[in-house]
């Protein structure tokens, strides 16, 4: 579903970063003498811009309403409305406040007149008769200025559009994130209700099976007993499945905070809770501390211990050893059993969800236990694996970080530090 959004999220390059476009700008020539207009037009046409002519101030103002201009060449001596009056009207409009005006005037202009022109915003004066190169050069300055301004403006527009697009994309991402979070919360709420609402009737089911067996057992024949036991097994298996699925889900969402932990008390608690035969489990004295998250470590250890005890050949008493091996920055925790062992070709596969391989299929289980171990260890930044072959038992290992602080290596394991 979310893939549909991906193409629109790909950022388009900013258009303005391409070669700057050769913008054509407008030049306004205002003169009451058609001959002068033509002459100036001829000179300026070499600049390759659009030249618009006006024969008096009114026409000039009309043109200004229709177009933007890079520069206005304004004849000072015009009948009715002279150049200065026209300039004053032009300046009144905010849009043309900054449009450069070059006045064209005769040599008889006094300094006072020129001052008046500058006050009206003239940027320059040209004297008649106009020298073509001078006219062209002066006008060109403003043409270039207008062109650069246009380029910058178009870049700014592009940038603004780009920013807008980015803001829109951000909004889409935020919306998706919110939706995802909502979906996660729903899933959590669902998990919680599965935990309580589904397990409660299962408990009733197994409870009443027990009642039937105890109170009515003598009245049932062996088939009746068998059926009840089958019912009990099915309900218990479903209970295990829901419990394991919930644990797996919780491992995924648990906020991981690593702290130095002692392993042995956790092992003792697991053994006490599971009612496991503690005689079958040998714990090496002085286990190293590890940097771990309590719930995740409990989950990993209880599944590894449970498996170690469970997967033994019929008639064999399980023997499990738990020991640690300090390495440079990590502690390797070993859980070794005398069980049925696992073919090396399955060693990776068994850590996946619902993978029950080889002889494992003859034993009760949900196929989630080692997936829980793998995910829990992964979330603590560690690694896990197994060394095993059929009939030779299994040696599961879990690597976890060592807590910081001075904990000198025992002399007999110092050689491990040279292992790369």
């Amino acid at each position: 579903m979310s893939q549909a959004f991906i193409p629109s999220l790909i950022t388009e390059p900013v258009a303005a970063s391409a070669a700057p476009p050769r913008e054509i700008v407008n030049i306004l020539l205002v003169d009451d003498q058609p001959g002068k207009l033509l002459a100036h037009e001829a000179i300026l046409s070499e600049l390759g811009q659009r030249i618009i002519k006006a024969r008096n101030g009114v026409e000039a103002l009309e043109q200004l309403l229709r177009n933007d201009f890079a520069v206005i060449l304004l004849d000072v001596n015009m009948p009715n409305m002279d150049g200065f009056e026209t300039a004053a009207l032009v300046r009144q409009r905010p849009r043309f406040e900054k449009t450069p005006i070059i006045f064209i005037t005769g040599y008889n202009t006094t300094d006072l007149d020129r001052l008046k022109g500058y006050e009206l915003g003239a940027v320059d004066y040209l004297f008649l008769p106009v020298v073509p190169q001078v006219l062209k050069a002066k006008v060109n300055v403003f043409v270039e200025l207008a062109r650069q301004t246009q380029i910058i403006k178009s870049q700014a527009d592009d940038l603004a559009a780009h920013n807008r697009r980015q803001a829109e994309q951000l909004e889409v991402i935020q919306k998706l994130n919110a939706e995802l979070q909502e979906a996660n919360q729903e899933l959590e709420a669902f998990s919680y209700s599965v935990s309580h609402d589904l397990r409660a009737p299962l408990r009733s089911l197994t409870g009443y099976v027990q009642v039937l067996l105890e109170d009515y057992g003598p009245k049932l024949d062996s088939d009746g007993h068998g059926h009840l036991q089958a019912l009990d097994r099915a309900a218990r298996r479903m209970d295990c499945l829901t419990r394991d699925l919930l644990a797996y889900g919780r491992i995924a969402r648990e906020a991981v905070r690593l702290e130095p932990l002692q392993i042995e008390p956790i092992l003792q608690e697991i053994m006490a809770l599971s009612g496991a035969n503690s005689a079958a489990i040998k714990i090496q004295p002085g286990l190293c501390d590890v940097l771990a998250h309590r719930f995740l470590l409990e989950q990993a250890l209880s599944n590894l211990l449970g498996n170690a005890i469970k997967f033994v050949p019929p008639g064999i008493h399980p023997e499990v050893t738990v020991r640690t091996e300090p390495r440079q920055n990590i502690v390797r925790l070993w859980i070794e059993d005398n069980g049925i062992g696992i073919d090396p070709s399955y060693h990776r596969k068994i850590f996946s969800m619902f993978e029950r391989v080889g002889d494992m299929q003859n034993y009760e289980g949900t196929g989630i236990g080692l997936a829980i171990v793998h995910r829990a260890v992964q979330r603590m930044g560690g690694a896990c694996g197994v060394e095993s072959s059929p009939g030779k038992g299994s040696r599961f290992w879990v690597d976890l970080a060592r807590p910081p602080g001075p904990e000198p290596l025992p002399a007999n394991v110092a050689t491990f530090s040279s292992v790369p």
């Binding site: 309580h196 397990r199 409660a200 408990r203 009733s204 419990r243 719930f295 409990e298």
Partner: protein
């Protein structure tokens, strides 16, 4: 001896009574099927049969077990008897939270008769 069982599930009430009977505990079990009824019974206990121990489910309608624990904690004058939390939850957080709110013990459902015997031994040993 009177037990106050705060439990909304009739099945769980049945299993509880059965376990009490099997444990040969001579006690009368009164049931409050939600938190509000529990509050009523605790504020006006039957003078002839005041509860000597409370077994409390955590997931209850209206007022859940944690809220009830909190309510009791805020009313020391009621002299509420020891509380054993009885729940299907095996989350350690629930256990810790219940303990911090004043629960004396924590049992996972369904309670086995010998577990109940242990609980009575511990609680009544402490309070006799």
């Amino acid at each position: 001896m009177t037990i106050l069982l705060v439990e909304d599930s009739p099945d769980d009430v049945f299993f509880f009574r059965r376990a009490v009977k099997k444990a040969e505990i001579s006690a009368d079990t009164q049931v409050a099927s939600d938190g509000l009824e529990a509050i009523r019974r605790l504020t006006k206990p039957d003078p002839a049969q005041p509860p000597g121990i409370i077994f409390l489910d955590l997931k209850l309608p209206h007022i859940n077990g944690f809220e009830l624990l909190q309510w009791i904690r805020e009313r020391p004058e009621l002299q509420v008897p020891p509380i054993v939390v009885l729940t299907s939850s095996d989350e350690p957080e629930d256990r810790d939270k219940a303990a911090s709110l004043g629960a004396s013990l924590f049992l996972t459902k369904p309670p086995a008769p010998d577990q109940l015997r242990d609980v009575f031994h511990k609680i009544l040993g402490q309070h006799s």
